[in-house]
């Protein structure tokens, strides 16, 4: 229960931190996608209901605090969570190079859908200006995700004596037995 109470506060904290850090280190031209990394982490490590709640809240908070079209990041994060959750049934989150690869793909996918949305809805062609930025951003996201997963696995190790990726993701009923 405490998880659901603290989640909105943590989402606001994370998104504001993300905006502030991007402003300090890159003057805003590159985004440190901490919220996306959190969604990918949720896809790998959390159970279905907790993870989907996190993805929704992160997306909504990011929609509200950034200048994006409301609902866009909620949808992206939901889709990315589902994708990662599906992938996590096949691969283990202990392999950091796989985490880096999945994060890279997710970040590129998010950017691609974003560019597509802007091109289709607003007729803004973002490809010329931001393509190198998107690739850099995706690389940065994959590096951050490796660090994030490493730190979290160490924390879990200290707290529980082992990492806590649910081994029972078998799609029997769709969600892990905990839920």
């Amino acid at each position: 229960m405490i998880y659901y109470i603290l989640l909105p506060l943590n989402a606001v904290l994370l998104v504001v931190l993300q905006i502030t850090l991007s402003d300090i280190f890159f003057s805003g031209w590159l985004t440190l996608e901490l919220s996306l990394v959190a969604v990918i982490y949720a896809g790998f490590r959390l159970d279905f209901v907790k993870g989907i709640t996190l993805a929704c809240l992160m997306g909504l908070t990011f929609d509200c605090l950034s200048g994006a079209v409301p609902g866009s990041f909620t949808l992206f994060y939901l889709l990315i969570f589902l994708l990662v959750f599906f992938v996590s049934l096949r691969i283990t989150s202990e392999k950091l190079y796989l985490i880096a690869f999945v994060s890279l793909v997710c970040s590129l996918l998010e950017s691609f859908v974003l560019v597509l949305l802007y091109a289709l809805v607003f007729q803004h062609d973002l490809t010329g200006d931001v393509l190198p930025v998107l690739v850099l951003q995706a690389l940065l996201t994959s590096v951050i995700s490796v660090g994030f997963f490493y730190v979290m696995s160490r924390t879990e190790g200290l707290r529980y004596g082992k990492t806590i990726q649910a081994p029972q993701r078998t799609w029997t009923g769709g969600v892990s037995p905990k839920t």
């Binding site: 504001v16 502030t20 909504l60 509200c64 950034s66 200048g67 949808l75 769709g174």
Partner: protein
Amino acid sequence: MFLKNYRTVIFVGAIIAAALILLSYNLRYDTGTSVLKRIVMEAAEPVQKMFSASVEAVENAWRRYIHLVGLEEENRKLNKTINALQEELNLYKEGNLEAQRLKKLLSLQDTYPHRFIASRVIGKELSMISKTLWIDKGEKDGLVSGMPVLVSTGLIGRLTDVTWHSSKVLLLVDENSNVDVLIQRTRVQGIARGAGSRGCVLRYVPKIQDVKAGDVVVTSGLSNLFPKGLLVGKVSYVNRVDAGLFSKIYVAPFADLASVEEVMVLAAEKQEPKQRKKKEE
């Protein structure tokens, strides 16, 4: 039985459908600042302020102390004195610079016959998808969505999301920004649309019109949003070679949007004392 077997699929489908409906609704209708957005922004404001203050404190600590590490023992006392004096001097300098900035901002009140509300910038977002500022005044201070926002050098944008105590400013260079403008010299009219790092693009100006680099661009006053004559920027590039009916014109805003610290929100037209008295009667 069916529901039990496919409950996860139904759950996922319902959530994605809800997100899609939210997105489509916001794309179709301009919903303004929703209650949810207001609450999230209001909740995030103290966090943003706290982060800004922390960053400032770290920067100050870095400036004041790090460079002192490693100095000789006998210089320590002297350095302390110098440091204290520098700190004092920095305070005066900072105060002086702030006063100059505010003086410039206040001079806008003499230039334009409008009521201004001064505000401090508490956050910036200059990413690829949006170029916005976050200011520390909101509905409680009389701000309303759509109000023009200026600095001493001219127009920088307009308010989009206004909450009780803070607001978002959509900058001129944001791709969603469109301002009706005039070339000051030739009175040629066009639409200045945000173009990110390239400043603004002046659209719908036919190739036969006389526009050249260096021309000053001001608001036309044709839309209800911006009063006539606010400085917008300078024409930086004109291309009539490409195919099409219109020239390709870039406008560089006068204001340096990355270093804005204080802004003035143009609230309403100033009332003359006589008019005000008349109204009161």
